[in-house]
Subunit: 401 residues, 2 copies
Amino acid sequence: MDRMNQVSQLAVSSPGKIVLVVLDGLGGLPHPETGKTELETARTPHLDRLAKEGICGMSEPLGAGLTPGSGPGHLALFGYDPFAFTIGRGILEALGIDFPLEKGDIAARGNFCTIDAKGAITDRRAGRISTEVCTRLCEELSRIGFQGMKVFVAPVEGHRFLLVLRGAGLSPDLADSDPQQVGVPPKEVVALSREAEATAAVVNSWISKARGVLADHHPANMVVLRGFARLPHLPSMGELYKLNPVAIATYPMYRGLARLVGMKVVDCGRSVREQFDTLAKYYAGHDFLFVHIKRTDTAGEDGDFKRKVEAIEEVDGAMPQVMDLKPDVIAVTGDHSTPAAMKAHSWHPVPFVLHSPLCRPDDVMEFSERACSKGALGRFPALDIMPLALAHAQKLTKYGA
Amino acid sequence: MDRMNQVSQLAVSSPGKIVLVVLDGLGGLPHPETGKTELETARTPHLDRLAKEGICGMSEPLGAGLTPGSGPGHLALFGYDPFAFTIGRGILEALGIDFPLEKGDIAARGNFCTIDAKGAITDRRAGRISTEVCTRLCEELSRIGFQGMKVFVAPVEGHRFLLVLRGAGLSPDLADSDPQQVGVPPKEVVALSREAEATAAVVNSWISKARGVLADHHPANMVVLRGFARLPHLPSMGELYKLNPVAIATYPMYRGLARLVGMKVVDCGRSVREQFDTLAKYYAGHDFLFVHIKRTDTAGEDGDFKRKVEAIEEVDGAMPQVMDLKPDVIAVTGDHSTPAAMKAHSWHPVPFVLHSPLCRPDDVMEFSERACSKGALGRFPALDIMPLALAHAQKLTKYGA
């Protein structure tokens, strides 16, 4: 918070433009056969040029050894201390589907799942039902009524849905019903404070009614809920940094997160090419343009080294579109590492490059984990990225006389 | 504290195993003739292999320029902020000899010393009397009685002993009587707070009686006391990190320190070889194995460059025993530097290597101050070591959704 206030007090509006390209889960681990990471394997002439001309380092979202979820990873990139600002999963899901949350609403992330005759979960994703089936089931669940309360059930994607409770006296202080494993039944929702006891009772009653509604809808014959949360207050990037930011992201959660920090979130198609076309389209009207690429992370999570390499190469191929715009700052990094070898987010620091006419270039000649480790920025907290970007775009004034 | 809580909340039990080898006082300074430090001079093929395959850096126990004692140096390695958790010298001595301290006890480290006819100290270690003589003298001092109070005098090693006061209303808020120099008399013990005034009076009275008892025992004809302290509360490594740790240390103070953070402390002989045999013996039953090597520090303190080189080489020779066990994490470092050139602890950062199948290797090709300075971890706080080790052993879950 202190750091954020310091930066905020120095922020001024200026014509300088910043483009932040986030390759989700960018960082990787060496392939056992080649000793090279995904990024080191990819052919990336344009990113290498940025590294050659720019200043590099390894960004750490949360500090040594700590693995961030997508929320904390992005908050750090935008300059919000992820330990000071926490965003529940339910809220992220709601924002990602443009659900018009109101102050006081309680949101949770739901999964349709499969239970056996004894009630034990056999598939946490209900055989990955289609979004169409999910939508139809959500409509059925929406008919469950409670006196003095509104309950919304909205489809997200595949087996995922959003549950929102709106009414007086609700509390989000609830433990998950999702046991995060198969072979056991969903848990009763437990209140984590006295104030939440009434809400827990409502939620458990809703779950029980939902089970009845879904009884004949195998494989989606049950639900699990997690990440109960209420809308947090985050100061907007406009307030904090005097920026007029736009987000070019395809995946709901990142669109929601961008909205939460006050970015304008625009339609941008699905492909990398369409995303970069969208960037060009909104370039004139904004001074901070955030491009979020999801494919790198998805490939990493799937353990698909080759597909992650291809995703990186695809972004590299589109980079000239950004470079041709000649923004004052181009920053490229990830919100965390997702090594294909681990099929999961990890704690490993993330390659970072900042390219700007005002940067002091180091000796890094290519954009890779190994090369960026030797960059002039060293291993540094991701929270430094916003002040660095703002400074190089001449959006921070001098501190003190 | 915050960092510790963050790590603690993410800690989970897992099968992963961590071996932490601490060469006390490992870091050194260049020899004036060769320009190489002790570690750079030593032949260390196995440590070099770990550096080649692992990730390296320079660990700083307290921050730039600050020299730690053994307590703070080790607390930092174990993930306890040495400025938040302070442990008096008296407590360390007590723990090191298995003295059954009770809550409220006041412990101090004592030295037998030699004074001249005028009462001035001529030898701060009483000619380094044997442990046998020390034991006999402690028995005599134990007979000094106080009403309503128990006073324990226990031998430690050589001229060193432990004084423990047990009774109501005692306070450890006392200055040392040890002037830490010769040519002056021991100081009167001064109360540092009003609550400690009665305790100061008791201690000064005890010292005066002790002087009487020792009058005929030249060279051990007086005592000096320092490090008055009470048992602190430290959360155990089991509570904090869900670890089942074991300490393989020969020297009392380090055994005591390990016990204080909840490690099981086992018999391990005296030699490096015996210590590593002990490691192998306890490997199956523990997931965190701390090996403490004292000889490097002793040689450094004695200003014996060559002996420190040999001590490092001896540890290197034993490393294959650790490597053959294939732990998920091998971390090798020191608790601080003890350059032979300085004959004392110093502030210089300490070489660090972490070896793990999940680490992202850097370009460091040997284990030395010079090489580790260029490692991917850079110069980093020793408090990062525990989260890094836990992460690489897959003992930390993701933070946030």
